[in-house]
Symmetry: C2
Subunit: 148 residues, 2 copies
Amino acid sequence: MHTVEEILRKKKIKVTPQRMAVYSILKKSKFHPSVEMIYQKLKPDYPAMSLATVYKTVDILKKVGLIQELNVGDGGLRYDAQVKPHSHIYCKKCGKVVDVNHFPGELQDSLLKKIEEETGFDILFVQLYFFGTCPECNNNKKLLKASS
Amino acid sequence: MHTVEEILRKKKIKVTPQRMAVYSILKKSKFHPSVEMIYQKLKPDYPAMSLATVYKTVDILKKVGLIQELNVGDGGLRYDAQVKPHSHIYCKKCGKVVDVNHFPGELQDSLLKKIEEETGFDILFVQLYFFGTCPECNNNKKLLKASS
DNA sequence: ATTTCTGCAAATGCTTTGCATTGCA
DNA sequence: TGCAATGCAAAGCATTTGCAGAAAT
């Protein structure tokens, strides 16, 4: 196992406070923030930080493989420091993205090979997204239903 | 079963040549085109058509449930008149999006319920994306490998 | 006849780019 | 010190919006 600093230096990418800060936000948070969200979280500690730097940083971290990009639609890309295969669930109402610690075993072995054979593609990775409404956003509706 | 015209009229949405043309492109094509691609395909037959109209039309068709939006990343949304559950494979090199007529049965019943229980979400739909390189884009590489 | 839609052009908003300054190695 | 990164502002693009004229019901 290597530290983030080592991984960056090995690829001749300079280790800067901004880059470490962006990675640290992503590593800590379970919210799968967008670039704008990362920027807002960093502002108190790095008042001079530029939004452009956050864009450039997530791009680099993505290319190096330290983070993955999630595409939940509705406009914004989200970033995730968890790069092991797992799936995501997105709330259509509040935009929250939550990890789903379930990844169909079927998807990891025989089915992938079958699909590669059928389509002729070489499969690099799989993204599985669930879309729905989260418990918090459901609350009102459920209470209304229960009382009617 | 209802015709597209009937479905639109029922929802008080006017049936226009532009709307039918956009739907027809999506129904016919297996390419999962973007808004820009749809616009380019329509230009010869509808030289006056506006790009804004295509944007507005896919939005309406999506809301009515006649088409689905695919989010393959790399910037552009794609549209698909096939609304039954199926998955998609996207070529990272040429951007092609192809249907995968395989949808893990696991995903449709017990697993969904389990995930709903674990997360508290109400799941509305699932998107499964495979990312990789298509046979055409692989060709060169494979030939090189074979001859080395 | 009324209502909605189209097409144009302008506006918006997210993301990228260019470049002088700053800072890591 | 030298090269790369930052931060700012401007540019770029995809998408949305407003509205007058056109078309559908």
